[in-house]
């Protein structure tokens, strides 16, 4: 499906679920932009963005260019520390030292949820491909399974992003296993 079709599809979801989005590299930025826009504008939903591919600062800059309000967006940044690029602290960002510290990703998400989110949250994992570089598949599957279950118990959604060009069969199997639905975006 294309971005417009994805937008239409996202509007149809009424209940918390876990969603896999396997997007082509060319549609990657548009997909992020759509997720941010769709889930946060005018709704009582907070978005927690787990950045393991691009530092949160860069994602934030992209949103700024597109004029997307970040008021209801929080970041769990797993990559900036690794790149020794945490020069400033930002109010809406918590840092995890390394994308290998999967438990800490859950803990920081839990922290944001408990501290800031009274209603529903959407947690976007960007991306499973980047996490797969740093972790073995067994622990990654275990992490996503636990994480999805935890979010469901909090009445929240999970969106797992995957880049089509980098997705292996094993990665797709994990996404299919933990997601209620997997969408292909070009």
């Amino acid at each position: 499906m294309n971005i417009d079709e994805l937008k239409k599809r996202l509007k149809e979801y009424n209940e918390p679920l876990s969603l896999g989005i396997n997007t082509s590299l060319s549609a990657y930025i548009d997909t992020i932009k759509l997720l941010m826009d769709e889930f946060t504008s005018g709704k009582n939903i907070h978005l927690i963005y787990i950045s393991a591919t691009i530092p949160s600062r860069s994602i934030s800059s992209i949103l700024e260019i597109y004029g997307i309000d970040e008021k209801k967006v929080f970041y769990v940044d797993c990559i900036s520390h690794l790149m020794m690029n945490v020069a400033e602290s930002r109010e809406n960002t918590v840092y995890v030292e390394s994308p290998t510290m999967l438990e800490n990703i859950m803990l920081k998400t839990q922290y944001i949820l408990n501290k800031n989110v009274k209603d529903v949250a959407v947690v976007v994992v960007d991306s499973i491909n980047s996490l797969a570089i740093h972790n073995d598949m067994k622990i990654l599957s275990e992490f996503l399974h636990l994480f999805v279950t935890f979010l469901r118990s909090r009445n929240s959604y999970m969106v797992i992003l995957s880049i089509k060009e980098q997705a292996t069969q094993e990665i797709m199997s994990i996404i299919n296993f933990v997601s209620d639905e997997t969408l292909e975006v070009d």
């Binding site: 030292e97 390394s98 290998t100 438990e103 803990l107 408990n114 622990i139």
Partner: protein, 247 residues
């Protein structure tokens, strides 16, 4: 099925879930682990949540001046330092030693009696319901023999339990330690053991928590990863990805 023993919630949601509602009232629990694993923070949070629930807490500081401890204490979103000072009594044990003329390297049985009597006196006077001794290891150092350590912990536990107090004894461990306490006796006479540790996995250092033993309740014995935050201690299950655990 658990006996219906009254529980004292630690206020740390995940830990209370692990313990099926909290620590059984009157238990003496060893909070054990090496430096930097979160023993003092966990113990203080136990007292803070108690104070919030209207239960007076007593923190007996053995190794660090409580004033310094308060300065370095994490700023909880849910509790101010002023409120901590109001709901928790902080006592530096060197002051008690000084007052009782116990400034000596080795304690005898009479000294043990005097020390316990004084702690009990404070508990009674202020109607304290939660006690933390940080650390029991430093007191044990002055007791020296296993017999005296056992006598001290057993008698103190009994006296505090009879007063309806739930007690955390902070125990310091060396990273190379094999058991759960420095002298081996503390773990045997305590009603519960909560082990805090560090886990090294691929160069990452994770803080961990495990409830090894807790009399009076069924509980999980799994290992959890711990985070110290301004909203309190958070826990998630440790992923089974391998790694070597040390205390």
């Amino acid at each position: 099925m658990d006996n219906v023993r009254e529980r004292v919630p630690t206020g740390i949601e995940a830990l209370d879930n692990i313990l099926n509602g909290g620590v059984p009232k009157g238990n003496t629990v060893l909070i054990t682990g090496s430096a930097g694993t979160g023993k003092t923070t966990l113990s203080i949070e136990f007292l803070v949540h108690g104070a919030m629930a209207g239960e007076k807490g007593l923190y007996i500081s053995v190794t660090e001046a409580s004033e310094k401890l308060l300065e370095n204490l994490i700023n909880y979103d849910f509790f101010s330092k002023e409120m901590i000072q109001k709901g928790i009594i902080f006592i530096d044990i060197p002051e008690i030693y000084e007052k009782l003329g116990m400034n000596k390297l080795q304690f005898n049985l009479d000294d043990i009696n005097i020390l316990i009597q004084n702690i009990v006196k404070i508990v009674k006077e202020f109607n304290v319901k939660r006690v933390v001794i940080d650390s029991i290891t430093s007191i044990c150092y002055r007791l020296q023999t296993e017999e005296k350590i056992m006598e001290f912990i057993l008698r103190l536990s009994k006296a505090l339990s009879e007063l309806g107090c739930t007690t955390f004894l902070v125990s310091e461990l060396l990273p190379s330690a094999k058991g759960y306490s420095q002298y081996g006796v503390e773990e045997a006479v305590s009603d519960g053991i909560i082990l805090l540790g560090n886990l090294e996995r691929k160069g990452d250092l994770l803080r961990t928590l495990r409830v090894v033993k807790m009399r009076g309740t069924s509980h999980s014995r799994a290992t959890y990863v711990l985070d110290i935050t301004s909203i309190g201690i958070l826990l998630v299950p440790l992923l089974k990805g391998g790694g070597e655990m040390y205390l």
